[in-house]
């Protein structure tokens, strides 16, 4: 398959649903909380009772604008909502309120590794409820379904890319960057496993050099970055095989099966949904003024790309900058430590070293530990001022992570401050010299390498607290 792949070009576009982090639903005042008792977060609007009227949540519009700006989109002055008709019990109204021909964001892009991936549009819509198929195992044998409408009406922003990606890896990079952006602007958790961010992929192949795209398949149920990449890899091979055998790829919706590691037909073209969109008469159109857009723009936090560049400007390696930005909690923590005046390089050493190791070992986030940015900044300051050595710092950081004690308190309680007082060090050094007469004799007889032995002894006596430069100087004086 590998060399067959060289004959074809792959074309991928992604549709990503990002659940917006509002307190209440997009058209109803129900809570959007996750994991509540079934149907406890509903009201007549969500249940589609006759005569109810949806009212748009302003925060959804603000989040839509903010995300659009972060994705370099144009925010049209006017947008509206439409009804997307489909008959299924996950939305009791019989239609989903979405945006069809006048979405809130158009014409944006994301740059990944120097390549620009276009974003066609992003639109606001409501999520559907959840169905549990009961009465037998799996959907096929079920005799009836149970409906939980807690999720129905949760705000979504559907972000549609241009068919600009040419490999599963590129699709993954795009998805990772998009996830990072929606997390940093604070509109979405970006949790693929829990479904707060969901992705459908459109993929086709065409002979290399061709200008005409092949027939595409749409793939659903991609619940992780790994699933996205694996499903696309599988689909490329499947489509190449069909074409190589003289067949034709059919336009259809396919489902990724995580257990079987393959995609399979979900519905064909003849069963494709016929949504019969029309303008939602219960909602007024939106007019978004330049002032409104600018007000939102003013709240834009630093985006991942700018953050990476700033970190590299501070002297971090590209690798370190990427790793820290990828973990938003860690990046925001690092920023706080920097604003408290810490030296970036020392801070990164601790964050990438001891702190990351601890988080990995405990399977937790920095926010789950007791370490505060203030405490870390204080520790780094003690090192900077040579009150303690770097090594002592690396020992006590673990206590700080576990119980939140301040560095100064630990240093005082354990007597860990560096001994820079020369007279105190002189006494200790003299004692070491006096107690090791034979080594002194050998050293003076020309065995220069024994010098390290004396330094080691002084360090041992001071439990590592002696300032190494001061010890060297004093020992040289005593030993002559």
């Amino acid at each position: 398959m590998e060399n067959l792949r060289d004959k074809y070009e792959v074309v991928i576009g992604l549709e990503v649903h990002a659940q917006l982090k509002t307190k209440s639903k997009i058209f109803a005042p129900d809570s959007t909380e996750f994991g509540q008792e079934p149907n406890s977060l509903t009201c007549p609007i969500t249940l589609g009772m006759p005569g109810v009227l949806p009212v748009l949540n302003k925060e959804c519009v603000n989040m839509g604008i903010l995300t659009g700006l972060a994705l370099h989109c144009t925010i049209p002055h006017r947008c509206k909502f439409d009804r997307k008709q489909y008959f299924y019990p996950d939305l009791p109204k019989g239609y989903q309120i979405s945006q069809y021909d006048e979405p809130i964001c158009v014409n944006g892009y994301i740059d990944i590794n120097g390549k620009r991936i276009g974003i066609t549009r992003a639109h606001l819509e409501e999520d559907a409820g959840k169905l549990v198929h009961a009465g037998a195992n799996g959907i096929a044998g079920s005799t009836y379904s149970l409906v939980d409408l807690n999720r129905a009406g949760t705000p979504l922003l559907e972000i549609v890319s241009e068919p600009d990606m040419r490999s599963p890896e590129e699709a993954r990079n795009y998805m990772e960057e998009l996830r990072s952006i929606v997390r940093y602007v604070g509109v979405c958790d970006g949790n693929l496993e829990e479904g707060s961010m969901r992705c459908d992929a459109n993929i086709s192949i065409m002979p290399k050099g061709s200008k005409e795209f092949g027939t595409r398949a749409e793939i659903k149920n991609l619940n992780s970055f790994a699933a996205l990449e694996k499903a696309l890899e599988f689909e490329i091979d499947r489509q190449i095989e069909i074409v190589e055998e003289g067949g034709e790829v059919v336009q259809e919706t396919r489902l990724w099966d995580e257990g079987m590691k393959e995609t399979m037909t979900m519905r064909g073209k003849e069963d494709a949904h016929d949504y019969r969109y029309f303008p939602e008469p219960d909602l007024m159109p939106l007019e978004i003024s330049d002032e409104w857009v600018e007000k939102i723009r003013a709240t834009m936090p630093e985006l991942p790309r700018a953050k990476r560049e700033r970190y590299m400007g501070l002297g971090l390696s590209e690798y370190d900058a990427n790793i820290i930005v990828e973990q938003m909690g860690l990046a925001l923590f690092f920023d706080k430590v920097l604003t408290l005046g810490a030296n970036p390089k020392t801070a990164v050493n601790f964050i990438m070293g001891e702190i990351s190791a601890y988080l990995k070992e405990q399977h937790c986030e920095i926010s789950d530990t007791k370490l505060t940015p203030e405490n870390l900044a204080e520790l780094l300051d003690l090192i900077e001022k040579k009150t303690i050595s770097n090594n002592i710092g690396k020992q006590i950081i673990f206590d700080m992570l576990k119980d939140g004690t301040s560095a100064t308190k630990i240093v005082e309680a354990k007597g860990l401050s560096q001994i820079t007082d020369e007279s105190a060090l002189k006494d200790i050094a003299q004692k070491v010299v006096d107690n090791n007469a034979s080594q002194v004799e050998a050293y003076r007889g020309g065995k220069n390498q024994l010098f390290g032995f004396f330094v080691g002894q002084v360090m041992k006596e001071t439990k590592g607290r002696a300032n190494p430069q001061a010890v060297n100087k004093i020992l040289k004086e005593i030993l002559g």
Binding site: T22, K23, S24, P29, D30, S31, E37, P38, N39, S40, L41, T42, C43, P44, L47, M49, V55, L56, N57, K58, E59, C60, V61, K80, Q85, Y86, F87, Y88, P89, V132, H133, A134, G135, S142, T143, Y144, S145, L146, V147, D148, L149, D274, R276, P279, P281, L283, M284, P285, L286, E287
Partner: protein
């Protein structure tokens, strides 16, 4: 012109089961409705923007505030069938 196939398609989308007689009847009735509405195509709309609202309102929004003033028990009273707090519905193909 609307055909029996259109009626069958619309019925399928609405999950309605129609008898052959009903299909013939609805084909004529729906056709008549469309023909009536079709008169509007006689108006020249060349330079007219599509209208999606008859009232001149815009930007009607609410604050992002949770209100929960009807109990789950009361809301579920309208459910024809219920199981463990879920709505129970027939299997949908």
């Amino acid at each position: 012109m609307i055909t029996i196939k259109d009626v069958e398609h619309v019925a399928k989308l609405a999950r309605l089961e129609l008898t052959e007689d009903e299909k013939v009847l609805y084909t004529k009735q729906l056709g008549d409705v469309l023909k009536y509405v079709d008169q509007m195509n006689e108006v020249d709309t060349e330079n007219v923007k599509p209208m999606c609202q008859v009232i001149d309102f815009k930007n009607v929004m609410r604050e992002d505030k949770v209100i929960h003033d009807i109990s789950k028990e009361d809301l579920m009273k309208n459910a024809p069938d219920e199981e463990n707090g879920f709505f129970r519905v027939p299997k949908i193909n």
